[in-house]
Amino acid sequence: MSEILFDRISKHYDKEETIKNLTLKIEDGEIISLLGPSGCGKTTTLKILAGLVNPDFGTVYMDGINVNPLPAEKRGAVIVFQDHRLFPHMTVGGNIEFGLRMQKVPKRTRREKVEEMLKFMELEEHGGKFPDQISGGQKQRAAIARSLIINPKVLLLDEPFSNLDQRLKEEMRSFIVEIQKKLKITTILVTHDKEDALMTSKKIGVMFQGELKQYGTPEELYEEPSSIEVAKFFGEVNEFSIDHEDEHRIHTYLGAFNKTRLSMKRGVYYSKLLVRPEAVEIYYEEHSENMISGLVMERIYAGEKTYYSILCGERILKASVVGNCHWNEGQRVFLKIEGKNTMLVK
């Protein structure tokens, strides 16, 4: 349990910058996600915190102490890797016991703790098996058990769900949230899947090409993205260039929008207005001002939602409606977009 601070961390590999000036603070006992496409430097960030990789610049603090000079084995930051990395020559029990044995904990205590941990992780029957004799989900739990047994200060999960099928994935997600709540252990989860991040974490950091683009709550990231990249990472968006703005309105070629967004900051120049497909409302008739006329080009029914591509002027607008809807291809419709449902980015 520990408060973590990455202070202006940079790391180069072969002249290529893997991590650019990363500053990030994680509160004690918090669970956060680092989200981004593969190769964006998320795993390197974990390795820097764990002490497996030395940063070129910057300092890592744990509880206010500079841990840069500490070797990996003294940091208490344990990574659970994507491929589990269970030691193949040891049994599951032996794997879980490993950390305690390295600390020279007496055999009897070790035994008790391992039994307890096996029970906690629902692995009682598998303690005597070797890693290649258990399933993927069990391996995952064994790897987490092996990390938790040494009471780490920070638990680092590197793509913990990527090798699991959908059902197991959901199970593991709630399992991790549960143990994190129970043990109050500072946890950093690295993933490329926005759903994993949204469903497990109180806060999410979005990384692209080694840069932390935005760090905030899921709501902030979804509703007030700092850039088009971040917005797109959380789902499809329609983007419009802003022509000009006056005191109350923002003008795009699709029409004018009221400046009701709280996210508008004074002195910031916004160049784009973004609209999520679900914020586009579709009507038969033009019943209020500022509605946009369009032609349904494509309709895709996907069960819980129906997706539309609508031609407005020369642009295709994406829209989605919950449930089954009856506007068909070739039909003329009118679209309404509330100013409050739009997002502005620089």
Binding site: K47, A50, G51, L52, P71, A72, E73, K74, R75, G76, A77, V78, I79, F81, D83, R85, F87, P88, H89, M90, T91, V92, G93, G94, N95, E97, F98, G99, R101, M102, Q103, K107, R110, R111, G127, G128, K129, F130, Q133, R146, S147, I150
Partner: protein, 276 residues
């Protein structure tokens, strides 16, 4: 049909290995075997008796040989494991050059290397000593060790070691509990190879040992040269049996050590408990 062909090939290959050995074994218990007889005319244990008689120099040299080869195996492994790991896992300037350089003893004749080292050893007073022989035997073993361990480490990487470190193991613990058991198959093959190379070394032993350090091959060669086939074959038979035993011993000891150590790792979860 295909199966039969491959079986036939296997039999031929096996015979190609076994027949020469059979002939050696036959010769070792032969008193006379004149041309053109297909089988020996008279059998006897003259050769083996001479080797195993009390106070025999052969046994003494056998002891020296085994001792030297074991030391060479241990020392060469100590050099080539870290060497192979560095070449297999880490990137550093000049890596390609060092990779080739480590194989140099394979390319350059051992005579040339031996002569050069000989003059240095004279100055250091290492000639005519067992230590000198051990040191010179390390040279031909290095390329094999480096090659095997480089490949092994390229294959296994250092992921498990990283995991060990973050779980709180220091470098020493990581090496003994994780690295060594992971490279065990390579350890056995490299160890056997190095043992055999050292055990069958004639020229380098002769050069550095200068006749004061008598190993088994040194005893054997004069018999081969003099044409006493029974004696030569007896020596060869003992040579083969000892090498085989040596190899088996290396494999057994290493396996036993690590099955035990992983037993300690999972102190109460040993292999026996596995049900599957």
């Amino acid at each position: 049909m295909k199966k039969q062909t491959s079986r036939a090939v296997l039999v031929v290959v096996a015979l190609a290995f076994i027949l020469p050995l059979m002939i050696i074994l036959l010769w070792s218990v032969t008193v006379s075997w004149p041309f053109p007889d297909l089988f020996p005319r008279e059998f006897g244990l003259r050769g083996l008796a001479q080797i195993f008689e009390e106070g025999s120099r052969a046994l003494e040299s056998l002891y020296t040989s085994v001792k030297i080869s074991l030391w060479v195996t241990i020392l060469t492994l100590m050099i080539t494991i870290p060497g192979g790991k560095a070449l297999g896992i880490y990137d550093f300037p000049g890596k390609a050059f060092i990779k080739i350089f480590a194989l140099a003893p394979l390319i350059i004749s051992p005579v040339a290397i031996g002569m050069g080292i000989h003059s240095t050893f004279i100055r250091l007073g290492l000639t005519n000593t067992e230590l000198g022989v051990v040191l010179i035997h390390i040279v031909p073993g290095i390329p094999y060790g480096i090659r095997i361990f480089t490949n092994i480490f390229e294959l296994v990487g250092n992921q498990l070691e990283e995991q060990g470190k973050v779980l709180g193991a220091n470098s020493f613990q990581v090496f003994f509990h994780i690295t060594l058991p992971t490279i065990l198959p390579g350890l056995i093959s490299a160890g056997s190879m190095i043992f055999i190379i050292s055990f069958s070394q004639y020229f380098l032993t002769f050069l550095i040992g200068g006749g004061s350090v008598i190993t088994f091959p040194l005893m054997m060669v004069p018999y081969i040269q003099s044409g006493d086939r029974t004696m030569a074959a007896s020596y060869s038979a003992v040579f083969i049996v000892v090498t085989l035993c040596g190899l088996l011993a290396i494999e057994k000891v290493l396996k036993l050590y690590y099955s035990k150590s992983s037993g300690i790792a999972g102190a109460f979860y040993t292999r026996k408990k596995v049900k599957s």
